[in-house]
Symmetry: C2
Subunit: 293 residues, 2 copies
């Protein structure tokens, strides 16, 4: 695994620097910048940017081409966490072991920091001089669809409405495909846009993205049962405590693990038949099944 | 004034229909669509779309060319009102005489409806088949800048931080130029993008937009003192009650009216020297100085 680990360490350093620069150059009230920066730098795993860079690598493209998109994506992911943690939503005091944004800056600033990150993410893509107008249009279209009322926002609402209810497996998949799946798939789709790859490869990679998105979520449910609070950085067993429908409650622990392996196998099979160098993506796929937080 | 009134009535009908269509075709949870639709259709004056259409008219462009942008703009304006009314922000129960979004749908749905409208607005512009990729890029760039952390979001934060404080005239202008000015200017800038007009005219119209944005806000402050709750559809005298810095507290009522007329005169002077048919824009400029709500 050394190969992927080195790749990740290097890329995480680069993206953290770039995110800081984007906030720093903003002509905005200092408290707004501080609040946006606080959550952006709160120790995210940068899994979405890593997926973007690994897919660009598979196409042998210059990785830095993906930097503005990776930053935009991480801003949208961060905005969704800030709003999700609000008292009127999940009401979380801690995120990755640190006080949540509204605990530090107050609710009003947290709402605005989220709004600001979301809007800035589209600006960043438009400002970049690395893309053609056609690429910019495709990137923002896909990003808005993945994050908006047909994507992540739909998933968050469905998740909220489904709480404490008895969901079917189909309803649970709808939630995950939208709440987390679409934004996990976006970096892979974005890389295909930047690589101008052909339609067939694009379709295969979109299917791959769907499988790893669901695998990621199933592993999340498994970790909630098998993980420790220390390793997770959040309270283990909270799904059971909150009486949430999960892959475990619907399929049993054994069934959930089978489902996880099914998605990972399908994801691997796609990578293996593609005419590109998928070494890194294969390692990431393995990592998703083995992650401990 | 019949000319402008007919133009407005017709255009408001068209944009209301189009907004309803945009929400209707969304593939999203029904409660999310209802909540987005509720605030979009809550009786807004559509002043921003009217400015866009009137500017397109000045360039003798097909007005329907502006429809997707007008809808996107109205969605962003509406999102900002929903988030602004939240208990953690202005905590308003009524907006245009109707219960605010969170009063009807709950806070969590209101947050998500705002997030959804904001994100969808960018998607709409990208989806349109009426614009070139270059126009789409310019439109989304200007819209994100006007609405984001260097525009409206900055103004909202500065406004919040300035509450109950003694602001200078310069600080008050910063707040208005950002909180409302940039999004009032955007439709005019958007029309210059769609008309592919030359740089000099663009610059003049941007200056015009700045003046009417400030005039609009000064008239808002005057109406809070001179208007009636019935005509305003919101509580008159609330600025005084909340001890807010306004153009009246800083310049006196007389001084505020002078400032208003100064901006309107400058706005008219720009329109009169432009080589386009600014009849409608001149009427709108007059209307801003005479509006009662």
């Amino acid at each position: 695994m050394l190969h992927l680990k080195e790749f990740m360490d290097e890329r995480i350093g680069i993206i953290n620097d770039e995110l800081a620069k984007y906030i720093n150059k903003l002509n905005a009230p200092s408290n707004l910048k501080k609040s946006m920066n606080y959550s952006l730098m709160a120790g995210g795993k940068r899994i979405r940017p890593i997926l973007l860079f690994a897919t660009l690598q598979a196409f042998q493209k210059n990785l830095n081409l993906g930097l503005p998109v990776a930053c935009a994506l991480e801003m949208i992911h961060t905005y969704s966490l800030i709003h999700d943690d609000l008292p009127c939503m999940d009401d979380d005091d801690l995120r990755r072991g640190k006080p949540t944004n509204h605990k530090v800056f107050g609710e009003a600033v947290a709402v605005l920091a989220g709004d600001g990150l979301l809007t800035y993410s589209f600006q960043i893509i438009m400002e970049s001089d690395q893309f053609t107008p056609e690429q910019k249009v495709a990137l923002v279209y896909e990003l808005a669809k993945a994050a908006g009322p047909e994507g992540m926002v739909a998933g968050q609402l469905a998740d909220m409405e489904g709480e404490n209810g008895n969901l079917s497996l189909q309803e649970l998949e709808y939630i995950h495909l939208h709440k987390t799946g679409k934004l996990l798939a976006f970096p892979i789709i974005a890389a295909t846009i930047l690589a101008d790859c052909d339609r067939e490869v694009k379709k295969e990679l979109a299917e791959y993205a769907k499988h790893i998105g669901l695998a990621f979520q199933i592993q999340d449910d498994i970790l909630d049962v098998e993980g420790t609070t220390e390793k997770l950085g959040k309270t283990a067993g909270s799904d059971t405590e909150n009486n949430k429908s999960t892959y475990i409650t619907l399929l049993s622990l054994e069934g959930a693990k089978e489902k996880l392996n099914e998605h990972l196998s399908k994801a691997r099979a796609i990578l293996e038949r593609l005419p590109i160098d998928t070494t890194l993506l294969l390692e990431i796929t393995d990592l998703i099944g083995k992650r401990e937080n």
